[in-house]
Amino acid sequence: MRHFTMSSAARRPSRLFRNFSAKIASVPMILTALVVFVGGTLWTVLYSFTNSRLLPRLNFVGLDQYERLWATPRWLVSIENLAIYGILSLIFSLVIGFVLAALLDQKIRFEDTLRTIFLYPFALSFVVTGVVWQWLLNPDFGVQAVVRSLGWESFAFDPLYNSSIVIYGVLIAALWQGTGFVMCLMLAGLRGIDEDIWKAARVDGIPAWRTYLFIVLPMMRPVLVTTLVIIAAGIVKVYDLVVAQTSGGPGIASEVPAKYVYDYMFFAQNLGQGFAASTMMLLSVAIVIVPWAYLEFGRRR
């Protein structure tokens, strides 16, 4: 292989064989992109127009599955939850992550220890996170019971058993699990900033918070982009955490779209409905991500 490449590079052959090794090496990526992601998506979209039940069948019913989907209260609740959870977890994980990183970046002692403390929850799966927080937030023996036993009898903190705030209970657990990683990325970004910038800022008498906000943050654009991709991908996919922590309850109050997809595909044995829901998820992702991804990664440098 290598000899072939070298000699072919020397002879400057036709276009197809330019970078031939690179093309061969990219075959797994190309296959994944085309067969799994594009192929799988098209397949899903196609079958969302059918009335497939347990097994996929090409029996077309037009937009029936979509009409039913948008008339289903549970789907609407799922969308609303995802919006609340998504926006808040994006904001909070970025803000908390950045603030923690900035604090750790003050040439403090015990930096390694503190960083490990903030990061360790990321090593735990969402299933584990869900189980632990379900426990901490259980009104009968969790935080609420402990505070009450200290004498504050009327203290109420039972987000997992209160329909109107349950999604925030999920958010608390998600932030606990994920902010450490965001902090790491941010810290890495801060370490990439030239020390001369700080010196210069100090000479010019610019207060630290302004330096962070107007100079350092804009310079951290690449790391922010990577962070955003990772957080946002996690948000759309949120599933395990909800299943482990609340199973979508109480009632349907903490349902999320990915769970709707799974439940209808496999539990209700209605693939068509599940595929219609996945198509809607993919569509909304595509509307936001594709133009941005193309601008960010697709342009020729």
Partner: protein
């Protein structure tokens, strides 16, 4: 106090300092130094403003905040450990935050060796080795593929390569549940369904987007001169990759290994769908133990099982936390 005007001036000054050419030279210089020191990315010293006196107001504020936040992060771990060491009667009576009155390791023994799911009463022990057998090849294969992808994307761009990459990134947003069915079909068609190799392939596919992104960014941040020099010397695709790129990319490989070990070890969905009971990974066993309620929920056993399952990624993080930040700095900062 700086007025907005001076702030603007300052930003311009910064831009001048960071003019592309200048930056490249500087980076290259730093890079050479760091390679000489056997430390591919030296940028791990704090960059923030210089600290003042030890007991200044500012320091009290910083340490105070960090301490409070650290308590919040540690609390769940503390509760897990404490609970796993208590007996059930004590759990029922007591406060979840109180330390155990009588330490018992029985829940740990039970979680590891005797907790039941259906008829199998051998706890998590069975799942541990399965998880190892799944994780090791998956980590190796996924990183091998993603690093080559990143290298090809950064240094050997060909027509359409950026398009495939964009598809991959969009693919990172597709919920796994959506892909479950098509993957079953694909695996069935290539005859890998139900085998461990099938699961390895699945992990490699779904690990690809984020890993490729990290590797691509890292390789793009390496000084192009190195690559060009090797090309002039007549080195080809694979020899540059193996002789120059891989040895210089230890930090990002470390990050990839950490991320993949965590991700694959913690995976539940693929593990349960694409394996069979005798090859179930530990997370599936954990779910089985936590959800097989036999009468009363044994919280101590559940917590012990939870900790045991999380132990491998936790140890990886505790040991390599520093390398992780350093490597992330290398893969995510430039782009």
């Amino acid at each position: 106090m700086a007025t907005p005007q001076t702030l603007e001036q300052f930003q311009q000054k910064c831009a001048a300092v960071l003019r592309p050419g200048l930056r490249k030279n500087k980076e290259l210089e730093r890079f050479r130094v760091s390679v000489k020191n056997g430390n591919a990315l030296a940028a791990d010293g704090p960059r923030g403003p210089k600290p003042r006196h030890a007991f200044s107001k500012r320091n009290i504020f910083i340490y105070g905040t960090l301490f409070v936040v650290a308590v919040y992060y540690l609390l769940p771990l503390y509760v897990m450990v404490v609970t796993s060491l208590k007996g059930m009667p004590e759990i029922r009576l007591g406060n979840i935050f109180s330390p155990p009155m009588e330490i018992t390791f029985e829940p740990w023994v039970k979680a590891w060796a005797t907790a039941c799911t259906g008829l199998n009463c051998d706890g998590l022990s069975r799942g541990f080795w399965n998880s190892v057998r799944i994780t090791v090849p998956s980590v190796i294969l996924s990183i091998a593929i993603a690093s080559v992808n990143g290298y090809a994307l950064a240094n050997w761009r060909f027509k359409g390569s950026e398009l495939f990459f964009t598809i991959l990134i969009v693919g990172a947003f597709i919920p796994y549940q959506v892909m479950l069915y098509p993957i079953v079909i694909i695996l069935r068609e290539i005859g890998l369904y139900g085998s461990l190799s099938g699961l390895v392939v699945v992990h490699s596919i779904f690990g690809m987007p984020i890993l490729t992104l990290l590797f691509r960014n890292y390789f793009a941040s390496l000084p192009e001169e190195l690559f060009k020099a090797a090309r002039v010397d007549g080195a080809g695709f694979w020899s540059i990759y193996l002789r120059i790129m891989v040895p210089m990319s230890v930090p990002i490989f470390v990050v990839a290994v950490i991320l993949q070990i965590t991700g694959i070890w913690n995976d539940f969905l693929f593990g349960v769908v694409y394996t069979r009971p005798d090859t179930y990974p530990m997370t599936v066993q954990l779910n089985n133990i936590v959800n097989s309620v036999q009468g009363v929920k044994e919280y101590n056993v559940n917590m012990a099982a939870t900790l045991l399952t999380g132990l491998v990624p936790l140890i990886v993080y505790f040991i390599s936390g520093k390398l992780f930040v350093r490597g992330i700095a290398a893969g995510a900062v430039k782009g």
